[in-house]
């Protein structure tokens, strides 16, 4: 019953608010009815028509008064007052445009920055992954003492799939790009080989056709393909009759058995990574081939859907038990454990910290903007003491005064919020442009209703936060004193409050400056590290050779030779090389084990290194220096003695006190023949995986003509004497000339790849730096405001001092001291806080710690310098105090 009443009341209030005209009309009609009945009664009593009406009106009293009283009963006068307050606030703010502009601009900038960062966080972190019950999807990797995350072995996977009880379905996937030919220019497709449960794990289904089943994992049955919606539309004109048709992939016919639904996102992968999102064109069945007892090769990644109620921890425990059991049967499975992580963590994990740091930074800016606005409002309210006193004297209650002041701050924050929303729309677009290439879920970043709601919420919130203190403060005034004093002076309490606010502003700004400072130092360190190669004027591209036409090493070598010869003839090409990969294009755990002649492997020092291939000119083209020995040459052929290039890290790891040149390595498990041995002929400089990675892993390069097994995905690398981008079309023409069925993919400039590798630290530096600059500016405004106000108050005193013999310099010192003391206090607090907060940054930094003393010193100097600059103008003004008028007033 009570609820019924509440509901009624709420309904009526809402009605009075929203359907004001209707309610007014009804009131009118109701009163008119009464009046007419009165007129009728009067007429019945025998009055003349005119008199009856007049008498009725007289009896009624003032119609508008009655109406007004009825209106009041609706309890909406509160809102009407608010409207009045708002209008008054707008008028008052219009009268001091400088104040209004400064506050609205600073609020707008900081609210906009917050909204922009929030849209990124909303799109990347908050929005659920587009898979049903995505929290139950987990990624599965191997882990060892050396490798935190390592791909699985397919046969192991088969055992896990058969034996585990943790997953509803468990699948694996592995990168497998393909070349689509047959119609027009060949196209390089981004593809994956997947086991039959893969789409069930993700919880997505084909829009047409079916998924793979177990039978397609058997050798000979794998020539089927599922197309992505995008590929189906792009290349096949959304042909609904495509099911059952054959398409040429890597020059082999594949039957299309399904077309995926649109918006099926690739969940991302770590090995030969393809970024999260709409990035995959086709899926092939994973076909189990080879010897199930050989479990040394690792190249597939696990993904599974946990049964309801099973945690990744429990699932990992079960998998580890299976792994232990497998290790007793297969020596290759020893020393591995299982690492499991929720899919969400795998996808957003790498950017989680960055985004939270940015949110923290931008939140601090907003806090500073609030403090700043509160400070300016306080100064303003002390200048308006008289007006407030008059209003109080005329009967405005304290609540009414507070509401009035809050209305002003709300108007300011709303204007700021509006400006912020506009800035956010532009800012998000700029942000997306700055994000690193592999940033997860970028497609999900939009300025949407959620973002606008957030903007509105922080606008109102900030309005209340920065408005409340000044409103309470100024409404607490002593009426008599307020009326008596002209202009009024700040009370001691208010001055203290304002000083405290400035100290707070400066310290927050210092925290941000320290953050920006150490990030900048870290970024500089990254830029200053030698990448180990020379990325300028280098073009790279990928070419994959289909195994049908390039089944043997001879066929691959022949293609490579032709391509390199022709490319070397192209004008402007300084060096044309070719190899398995190019630097900084992804971190592959492509470890090869080997035997070193005359050395015994120990459990602590197993012989493993990254394998690559390289043509003779590869290193010259990439700008990787030869330290000792020689590069491979055209004379190193399949039939000549095998040679090997290694990096310095490998030389150090396995031949710490001897010369690696001339030593021999073998890559075959069983007794090597004399021709199986590779002799180390050259040592090249180290190249890191990425600019921020700590050390360099041992690596070696087979000459492309002597590779131990056929590597058909190759990268061309061309060093040019001029604009390398111009070589792209020539490369395409040359490839087409040699084999028209081949596609040239991923044409990129190496310096572009290199600069993308810096994208994450760069965007952190830019944004945190921007926020810090904003914070420092706000703090300067705050200091200026307080000092300038106090100078205004003390002009008389300065005049007296000068009359008593103080020099202008003494006065300047006096004023400066006020600002510098505030700034010093803020700096001390801020640096202390920075030491605590900045620890969160340590993992994002390279070669510098968050407590870097150089940065701290620079920040302190900047804070004090800014304070001095902010005090300069008020100090100058103080020296213009007139001693004569000061004396006269005395």
């Amino acid at each position: 019953m009570q609820w019924g009443r509440r509901w009624n009341i709420a309904r009526l209030r809402l009605r009075s608010l929203l359907r004001r005209n209707r309610v007014e009309a009804e009131l009118d009609k109701e009163l008119r009815y009464h009046l007419e009945r009165q007129v009728e009664e009067n007429l019945t009593a025998g009055m003349a028509a005119g008199d009856a009406r007049l008498a009725a009106l007289r009896m009624f009293g003032g119609v508008s008064q009655v109406q007004e009283e009825c209106r009041e009963m609706r309890r909406t006068e509160y809102l009407d007052n608010l409207w009045q307050d708002l209008r008054y606030a707008v008028r008052m703010l219009g009268r001091s445009p400088a104040f209004t502009i400064v506050v609205v601009l600073t609020l707008g900038l900081s609210i906009g920055a917050n909204s922009a960062i929030f849209s990124v966080i909303d799109g990347v972190l908050l929005k659920p992954l587009p898979y049903p019950n995505a929290d139950r999807i987990a990624r599965v990797f191997y882990r060892s003492k050396v490798y935190a995350k390592f791909p699985m072995n397919p046969w192991d996977f088969a055992d896990f799939r058969a034996r585990n009880h943790s997953f509803e379905s468990f699948a694996m996937y592995s990168r497998h790009d393909a070349q689509l030919s047959g119609a027009g220019e060949p196209v390089k497709l981004s593809g994956f080989r997947i086991t039959s449960g893969y789409f069930r794990v993700l919880g997505v289904h084909p829009a047409m056709g079916r998924e793979f089943d177990f039978s397609e994992e058997r050798p000979g049955n794998g020539r089927v393909v599922i197309l992505s919606d995008g590929l189906w539309r792009r290349q096949f004109g959304a042909d609904t009759g495509i099911l059952g048709r054959k398409v040429m992939l890597d020059s082999v016919p594949f039957t299309v058995i399904g077309v995926m639904a649109p918006d099926v996102d690739h969940p991302g992968n770590a090995y030969n990574a393809v970024a999260y999102g709409d990035t995959v064109d086709a899926w092939f069945p994973f076909v189990f081939e080879g010897n199930p007892a050989q479990r040394g090769s690792h190249f597939v990644e696990g993904i599974g859907r946990l049964r309801a109620g099973v945690t990744t921890l429990r699932a990992a425990a079960e998998f580890n038990a299976i792994m232990t059991e497998l290790a007793t049967r297969y020596p290759n499975d020893r020393n591995w454990t299982i690492y499991m992580a929720p899919l969400y963590d795998e996808i957003v994990g790498p950017v989680h910290r960055l985004l939270l740091v940015l949110l923290g930074a931008v939140g601090m800016v907003l806090l500073i903007a609030c403090v700043n606005a509160a400070n300016l409002l306080l100064a303003r309210s002390s200048a308006r003491q008289r007006e407030i006193a008059v209003r109080a004297a005329l009967g405005a209650g304290r609540g009414r005064l507070v509401r009035q002041m809050l209305a002003e701050s709300l108007v300011l924050s709303m204007l700021g919020g509006g400006l912020g929303a506009l800035l956010a729309v532009g800012g998000v677009r700029a942000l997306i442009g700055m994000l690193p290439a592999g940033f997860p879920r970028v497609a999900g970043i939009h300025v949407n209703g959620m973002v606008f709601a957030f903007t509105a919420a922080i606008a109102v919130g900030t309005g209340l936060v920065f408005g409340l203190a000044p409103a309470l403060q100024s409404s607490r005034l002593d009426l008599q004193q307020g009326l008596r004093e002209r202009g009024g002076s700040a009370t001691g309490r208010q001055a203290r409050l304002r000083s405290a606010l400035v100290v707070g502003e400066v310290s927050l700004a210092c925290v941000l400056l320290v953050g920006a400072g150490v990030m900048l130092r870290s970024f500089m360190n990254l830029l200053n590290t030698n990448p180990g190669f020379q990325p300028q004027h280098v073009l790279t591209a990928d070419i994959s050779l289909p195994s049908k036409n390039y089944g043997t090493l001879e066929q691959i070598s022949s293609f490579d030779r032709k391509l390199l010869v022709k490319m070397n003839e192209v004008a402007g090409v300084q060096a044309a090389g070719l190899g398995s990969d190019v630097p900084w294009t992804g971190y592959d755990e492509n470890l090869g084990g080997f035997t070193i002649e005359g050395k015994q492997e120990s459990p602590n020092n197993s012989f493993r290194a990254r394998y690559h291939t390289a043509s003779p000119e590869y290193f010259r083209a990439a700008g990787i220096p030869l330290l000792r020995g020689r590069f491979s040459t055209d004379g190193d052929t399949k039939d000549s003695p095998k040679v090997l290039i290694i990096n310095q890290a490998m030389a150090r790891a396995y031949w710490p006190n001897e010369d690696a040149l001339g030593k021999r390595i073998d890559f075959f498990d069983d007794k090597p023949k004399e021709s199986d041995w590779y002799t180390i002929v050259g040592i090249v400089g180290d190249v890191k995986d990425s600019p921020e990675s700590g050390g360099v892993k041992p690596a070696f390069w087979w000459p492309v003509s002597q590779q131990a097994f056929e590597i058909r995905n190759q990268s061309v690398i061309l060093r040019s004497t001029m604009d390398a981008g111009a070589l792209a079309s020539q490369l395409r023409a040359v490839v087409r000339e040699i084999d028209p069925t081949l596609a040239v993919g991923h044409v990129r400039l190496l310096d572009r790849i290199a600069s993308e590798s810096y994208a994450t630290p760069r965007i952190s530096v830019y944004l945190v730096g921007l926020f810090a600059a904003l914070a420092l500016t706000l703090a300067a405004i705050g200091i200026y405001g307080v000092v300038s106000y106090s100078v205004g108050q003390r002009m008389h005193e300065f005049g007296m001092r000068m009359a008593l013999g103080a020099s202008p310099w003494d006065v300047v010192r006096l004023v400066m001291r006020q600002g510098l003391v505030l700034s010093f206090a803020g700096t001390v607090v801020g640096l202390g806080a920075a030491l605590v907060f900045a620890r969160a940054l340590d993992s994002m930094l390279y070669g510098v710690r968050a407590s870097d003393p150089v940065t701290l010193a620079c920040v302190a100097a900047m804070a004090m310098g800014t304070a001095a600059a902010a005090c300069y103008a008020p100090a100058r003004r103080a020296t213009r105090a007139d001693p004569i008028s000061a004396l006269r007033a005395e």
Partner: protein, 109 residues
């Protein structure tokens, strides 16, 4: 003749609630009914009646709806809600206590 302002505070609400408790009525009807029942002793002016009606409606004691009146024109009829009935009982009880108390003073003094 007594003006409503002479009525003890809150009595008007009681009168209205009690009157409407019989049947749904419009403002004119309520004023007339009170006037008749009290034999013209209490004449409620519109200036007091309508704000009171609106207040009672806003508080959820009364519910209003537009209906054809006895003259054929539409009028705003007020009905006592269930919450209003409870409120009426409360106010009646208070009134009894008050008038008893006043009576006691008058008789003994």
């Amino acid at each position: 003749m007594s003006k409503p302002s002479d009525l003890i505070q809150g009595t008007l609400d009681l009168l209205i609630l009690k009157t409407v408790a019989l049947e749904p009525m419009h403002g004119w009807g309520i004023a007339k009914r009170i006037q008749q029942v009290t034999k013209d002793v209490l004449q409620i002016t519109q200036g007091a009646l309508y704000p009171a009606l609106h207040r009672l409606e806003q508080q959820g004691w009364l519910r209003a709806e537009w209906r054809a009146s006895e003259t054929g024109r539409e009028a705003k009829f007020y009905t006592l809600t269930r919450a209003g009935r409870v409120q009426l009982a409360k106010e009646l009880e208070q009134w009894e206590r008050l008038s008893n108390a006043v009576g006691l003073v008058i008789r003994t003094a």
